[in-house]
Symmetry: C4
Subunit: 338 residues, 4 copies
Amino acid sequence: MSHSEETSEFSIDKAAAPLPLRNSNMGQSSLDDAPRMELLSPPLEEEQLAWSKIRSYCQDFFSEFLGTMTLILFGDGVVAQVVLSGGTKGDYQSISWGWGIAVMLGVYVGGKSGGHLNPAVTFANCLYRGHPWRKLPVYALAQLLGAMTGAAIVYANYKSAFDAFEGGAGIRTVTGPTATAGVFCTYPAAFMTRTGMFFSEFIASSILMFCIFALADPNNIGAGNLMPLCLFFLIFGIGACFGWETGYAINLARDFGPRLVSFMIGYGHEVWSAGGYYFWIPMVAPFCGCAFGGFLYDVFIFTGNSPINTPMLGLQRLMRPRKSVWSNTHPAAIENKV
Amino acid sequence: MSHSEETSEFSIDKAAAPLPLRNSNMGQSSLDDAPRMELLSPPLEEEQLAWSKIRSYCQDFFSEFLGTMTLILFGDGVVAQVVLSGGTKGDYQSISWGWGIAVMLGVYVGGKSGGHLNPAVTFANCLYRGHPWRKLPVYALAQLLGAMTGAAIVYANYKSAFDAFEGGAGIRTVTGPTATAGVFCTYPAAFMTRTGMFFSEFIASSILMFCIFALADPNNIGAGNLMPLCLFFLIFGIGACFGWETGYAINLARDFGPRLVSFMIGYGHEVWSAGGYYFWIPMVAPFCGCAFGGFLYDVFIFTGNSPINTPMLGLQRLMRPRKSVWSNTHPAAIENKV
Amino acid sequence: MSHSEETSEFSIDKAAAPLPLRNSNMGQSSLDDAPRMELLSPPLEEEQLAWSKIRSYCQDFFSEFLGTMTLILFGDGVVAQVVLSGGTKGDYQSISWGWGIAVMLGVYVGGKSGGHLNPAVTFANCLYRGHPWRKLPVYALAQLLGAMTGAAIVYANYKSAFDAFEGGAGIRTVTGPTATAGVFCTYPAAFMTRTGMFFSEFIASSILMFCIFALADPNNIGAGNLMPLCLFFLIFGIGACFGWETGYAINLARDFGPRLVSFMIGYGHEVWSAGGYYFWIPMVAPFCGCAFGGFLYDVFIFTGNSPINTPMLGLQRLMRPRKSVWSNTHPAAIENKV
Amino acid sequence: MSHSEETSEFSIDKAAAPLPLRNSNMGQSSLDDAPRMELLSPPLEEEQLAWSKIRSYCQDFFSEFLGTMTLILFGDGVVAQVVLSGGTKGDYQSISWGWGIAVMLGVYVGGKSGGHLNPAVTFANCLYRGHPWRKLPVYALAQLLGAMTGAAIVYANYKSAFDAFEGGAGIRTVTGPTATAGVFCTYPAAFMTRTGMFFSEFIASSILMFCIFALADPNNIGAGNLMPLCLFFLIFGIGACFGWETGYAINLARDFGPRLVSFMIGYGHEVWSAGGYYFWIPMVAPFCGCAFGGFLYDVFIFTGNSPINTPMLGLQRLMRPRKSVWSNTHPAAIENKV
């Protein structure tokens, strides 16, 4: 990433519509504007510090990386504690709590980049909220690596407990009475059909995105500075209401990252083959679900800046695959918006 | 619905007293006024978009529809998960959590129309807070259809689990060891008398409305922007304290809508006959309860705009059944208020 | 209560230091000042309404009555549900939740009078925060009657369930396998000594008052508009941490009111004799505890208006039992404060 | 502590960067500035009161003492209730709740001194946020004594219950079926290696500090006035996700203070020797963890005033062990910052 490119990206980002999660601060303009302002014109002494420059260029990467790491630390951590203690140090409701808190704290940590923590959320923001498409791969990579780091730390922390639970230092099983692979990533319930799996992930992701857009909509009630708290309730709710069948992955980074780590640790090929090669479903379904959930909200409720609120519900775009139409950062596209 | 009619309704609505739930935003005037303002005078380009016009006219309908759909998605979803997993993926407290979150998120989603989500709440708002009577049927229809849609989605999502729990694809039972009808709507506990059922629903609805008016009262402490969060606690509390005997339906749309869906699915005539044709109680009692709860609050605490705070506690109205007295949108009535 | 007396009381109350719970609104001056302002100078039309006048004079009574009624509705309601359902519709944690929500909603309902809901809290406010002493009996009476009303409604609601649980319509037992007296008021654990009972209630009340003063202190962090939410956590915490031994009554009205009701219902003399005539402990200990807890906070942390922050820690008062010294509403006392 | 010394300390403290926890109030400037202002220039009458002067000088000590006492009252209280009632008055989740509420209320109580409640948090604030080093021993002593006082009160409150559970008045055991030493301080799970213990405490402390800095960062989303509430969720999360192996002491004062008390009570030498002389790990690991967690946040996200944001990441300091470089209160150091 060259310097000039990044600078231009930041200035464009400022011109484009603000990211939904950042909207949550709109009542507190000082909090919201301060970080961007500082990034654009940091204090003199910082300008001269090499690391501060690097950090400024990589802010999005670091922010998403550490936010997603926090997400997985708490999320996989609570599953590890409940599973490995045989349910004596928590139960299913603890897991709902843990994941809810994980998202809440992850968003606080990763707030400077919008706290997406989820490639599908970033994708929906690119589609509907003018988030620059060129940032999608950066965000997705940071999220994936952050999730892997978090899962590795959880494993390191609970290594003795894994050994004690599985009955030996080298044993790691995906199925069976002492299976522990569920600590890292999700596996579907036994009775599920493949269509059912996909639909379950699809609907949970739709609800996720639909509700995030509702909470972030400044023309609706809006969560304001309660946004991270509301996300706690949202994730808790999805876990309590739609979390049984496929474990509400609803996030490529959250599921695929730790799954990779569990494969490296030595759980074997079964991490891929379990549930009839279920692993691809939480990679694909969240993108479809988030796109659909965001579409639903924008069509029926949202009155702000969105491609849906352009002629023909933005479907013209499909007929004009030109950069000036699709790019959220292209000068022409921005002019049209202003 | 013709264009001119709707426009006049909106302008009248602005003149009338604000709806209680909208009051929750009063500390954030920008959030509160913005949506209405935009509806009345949308940006130029939106004016020319056919869909934006339609959406603007049907805003109340869409908003209540999607809000109530969200309510039922989470509410029936959590019961489905707890019942169908045999209590391994949640317990009674999960259900309290689920319904609390359901209302909280439903209100965030349906904020543009006030987030009533309940015909009885709309009714009490018409009675005591100047909500236009002509909107009552629109709201009630939207709420009912939204609840039915939500219940259908929950059923589609958990279809395999229903089959597995009931022991076969076609089997759906209202009573018995593997009964699953309770996922959709409420059934009374076995020991209840009919009077007890009615009283239980009546008192829960009274408390609901009494507390909503307290939370929304700008002359009291008032929940302000914590309103949806407080509603979470309120619903959780009603579930934990008055939820056993009849399942705290306290909402025609929440109970009758999913009950209709369960009848369509094939649960048979028993959905109506169970509990001694109990089904009509959660249709009638909430209206009585909400009217009474709102009356209680307005008589003893509320000092704002309410018929109770007019000569003879507003009982003159009963003797003057004229449109200028009863209609919240009639020009004469509004002049009296100002 | 004559008209002129009440009017002077109100104006004096305004001059005196504000009540702690009202402080919670200090960030929202409009919410805080509005109700008093309206009471002092209500809109013209209200001035002419007989009921509005009566309500204005009895505001404190109505507010505390309904607030405490709400407290007991949820508080006794949750115990009833958990006990009578045999633990299938809630567990000990549900009770912590229920009482926490009960206080939270009770404070929202009774906000206009400060939301004390507890004679001991009113007492400590009179001692340390300039709440008029002459209001103490009015508040205490309202709280007691409100608690009794709430307990009676809970009983009416769960009557069939009482009968089913006790095994017959006329049977009501205080001890034994199907005892239900604990629904109404608290009874100590079997192993407790009398000193232990008193100390347990004393320490829980001290913590209650100490934390309320901390939360309401505008010179500390202060809970601001989160006050009712923080009270939820405080009551939940006291229930989870100090609730086992004597059931954390910490409130004369909450314990004695429902106990009276249970005596009237027919639980017999045992409601008084149980636990070695334990019933007087939750009547006396809360006053001692709240006085001590408030003393602790004012001595070591509080820097605002308090008798502790007068010469000799306010102990001079004990040597000068004159009205001008003790009365919070006496003109001389107020002049000294200003 | 002489008068002049303390006065200078306060004025320096004001010049230095504000403590992170105090930052939480930044949206409410009146709340944040008021206490300091009052300390520096108290009202005239207070100036003349001996006790107000003493309290003003010892504000930090009293504040941390009472804050940590509150922390241990709720924290050890909830463990006592759950353990001594044999799990009938709470379960593992209650303990998560109890400790979360304990920290939340402790921070509200100890807000005037920043609400650190933990020597390791004070240490990290000295390292990264300009908290005066000379205050570290005062804070640590106050925290330790506060924790001991809290533990003693909990013991006094539950003495009968200890006797009943252990089976006799003089019996107090650290291990075995009726062990109760876990009420006071943490003991590791049986399967843990010493490295595992240290790592578990280290990682939990890192997460604690990392998240506190994220929540308190005004350039990130920031918790604002929700700070104590967010700390509730953070502590709950650490308890639910990393609380099993070593009981998440993450605090010298919280663990060593009550351990000393339990030794005095008569639990014998085993309180030190249990777990292979585990007791030193929660004394050392939190300092390492908090230092690392704070480092991580400042390196990758924080853009405000921190030694990390000086040339060479502040490592120059290590080569210049002079007072002007290290002291946060040295005039030269402050000049450099301004």
